[in-house]
């Protein structure tokens, strides 16, 4: 059984590329196909960008990312930050029917994560936000 990947970085956009590269490599090893890797890459970016922008609030935010496979064979990417309590899943979906002039600029990141991943979970534990991106490998 492959060991879990556990990586720690400061929550800054400069680290996004490196974090992404390591997570995708571990996910590829665990059987995600190209499309799933693309979806994971995008979801991971959205999650990390939100943390860098909001949860950290300008302080020294810290990020931990863990890639592992659960007992049902699903790949679970945990994105853990030490910022203020922030449940991204509590944000409502953007209204897709609204006219361009009225469409607000934000709100898309979480929506994309929810649509691209098989499942997404959030919990607050030990003063940390834990967001789980879950995806079942397909052939």
């Amino acid at each position: 059984m492959t060991e879990a990947l556990i990586i720690k970085y400061s929550a800054t956009l400069e680290n996004l590329s490196e974090i992404s590269s390591k997570v995708l490599s571990a996910a590829a090893d665990r059987g995600l196909n190209k499309k799933q890797l693309n979806d994971l890459e995008l979801s991971l970016e959205e999650a990390i960008v939100n943390i860098c922008n909001y949860a950290s609030e300008g302080r020294d935010g810290k990020l931990e990312v863990i890639v592992d496979t659960d007992k049902d064979g699903r790949i679970v990417v945990q994105v853990i930050d030490n910022g203020i309590a922030f449940d991204p899943l509590s944000i409502p979906d953007p209204d897709l029917t609204v006219d361009i002039a009225d469409r607000p600029i934000g709100g898309l990141g979480i929506f994309l994560i929810r649509n691209l991943m098989d499942d997404v979970k959030y919990r607050r534990e030990n003063n940390k936000n834990i967001l789980e991106l879950i995806i079942t490998p397909e052939a």
Binding site: L13, L42, E45, E46, V49, L96, R103, I105, G106, L112
Partner: protein, 110 residues
């Protein structure tokens, strides 16, 4: 991410290549903004070589579209790769933006 803007028949054609993510989106925003400040009101974004787009990129495209609309102008997108088109579809952007298959069709929509 690389963006090159060339005038073609009074239209600013911006070729956006590579990856449009939270890190590179600000650069695209500022280049398109500069073009609008110079008086450009008709723009085509040619996304032939754009491999990846995240919500940061979508936001820049949306805000540029709104700016141009306010100036009685227009933005048309063309040559979207399949993976990029999928993101536009999921986010509902296909129904609020003008997207064509190729550049010729884009010119006809300006």
């Amino acid at each position: 991410m690389q963006v090159t803007i060339q005038p073609e028949n009074n239209v600013a054609v911006a070729s956006v290549e590579g990856r449009l993510d939270a890190v590179s989106a600000p650069e695209l925003e500022s280049k398109l903004s500069a073009s609008i400040d110079e008086g450009q009101t008709s723009m085509i974004l040619d996304l032939t070589n754009l491999d990846y787009i995240s919500s940061a990129g979508l936001r820049v495209i949306l805000s540029t579209t709104k700016k141009l609309k306010k100036a009685q102008g227009k933005l048309v997108l063309c040559n979207l790769q399949q993976a990029v088109m999928q993101i536009f579809e999921i986010s509902g952007f296909c129904s609020i933006l003008t997207i064509t298959d190729d550049k010729e069709a884009a010119f006809s929509k300006i």
